[in-house]
């Protein structure tokens, strides 16, 4: 009986029903996965979040919840937001390097009279939409 319980029901020390919301996504062989999400979100919040989703989206939701919980445990101050900040910085630097290189191509082409085969990449400011500092919380309508 004990071996058929999912990791969540094992951790919560309860019977694992046949329609357990956790069992498809928190198998018994990976106790760390449930412990992570339980520590950050709590079992009841995870259950609510999964129940509010169509069944075919729950696996991906469980994966993303585990990833975010894991990041938060590794970095209690920034969690996965630290990752977003680093990625935005990397994108900004790559865009600058690309602009520099394309300017170099344009300069070389102008000197040699060669036509530039690669048009300049439009460098829209992608990172603004992920900017943590300027996020406007009041726009969000809570249900």
């Amino acid at each position: 009986m004990n071996s058929s319980r999912c990791a969540a029901c094992r951790h919560l020390r309860r019977r694992c029903p046949s329609d357990c919301i956790f069992s498809p996504y928190f198998p018994s062989h990976d106790s760390k996965r449930f412990r992570c999400v339980h520590k950050i979100y709590g079992a009841s919040n995870v259950a609510k979040m999964l129940q509010e989703l169509p069944a075919d989206r729950r696996a991906e939701a469980a994966d993303s919840l585990y990833y975010e919980a894991y990041c938060r445990l590794k970095d209690p101050v920034y969690g996965c937001v630290g990752t977003i900040t680093i990625l935005c910085q990397q994108i900004h630097n790559a865009q600058c390097q690309l602009a520099t290189t394309q300017a170099e191509i344009a300069s070389l082409s102008a000197h040699s009279g060669l036509q530039n085969q690669y048009p300049a990449t439009p460098t829209f400011n992608l990172i603004d939409q992920y900017d943590v500092a300027s996020a406007n919380w009041s726009d969000f309508n809570l249900q």
Partner: protein, 161 residues
Amino acid sequence: MGGGPCASCKLLRRRCSKDCVFAPYFPPDEPHKFAMVHKVFGASNVSKMLQEVPVHQRADAVSSLVYEANARMRDPVYGCVGAISYLQNEISRLQMQLAVAEAEVLVCMDQMQMPQPQSDHEKCLLSASSDNVSLCDFQNYRSFNNHHTIQDPLKRESIWY
């Protein structure tokens, strides 16, 4: 506190003590901030997380929790992970563009019979992240997902790849 209960104690309908862990970060004029983190993480989990962080870093911790809660409520399936996957794909795209552009520089220089650039310079241009803070292993969502995905027969084709 002179200004009345903080947003969290107002929502939780309890007395706001002078050493309330939430009060410095959830002022009463921004009730939506606490409502979001409470809905996603739960007040007691947020309290525990804040208590485990040094005081001078709690404001940053709250900002990131609010950001994550907001992302999760806007996208209940992927939360912040949607943004991370998108940004990682964007970096890959930019690095490919950079490699193509650098190759074109070499072609131009070759056609103009100019001396080739130093190999170190070439390597610097090709490596978009050479001067950046790099992601730690666990932060790279693609490799994390490869090792930790649950195989679900209902799982559709992921937008992450």
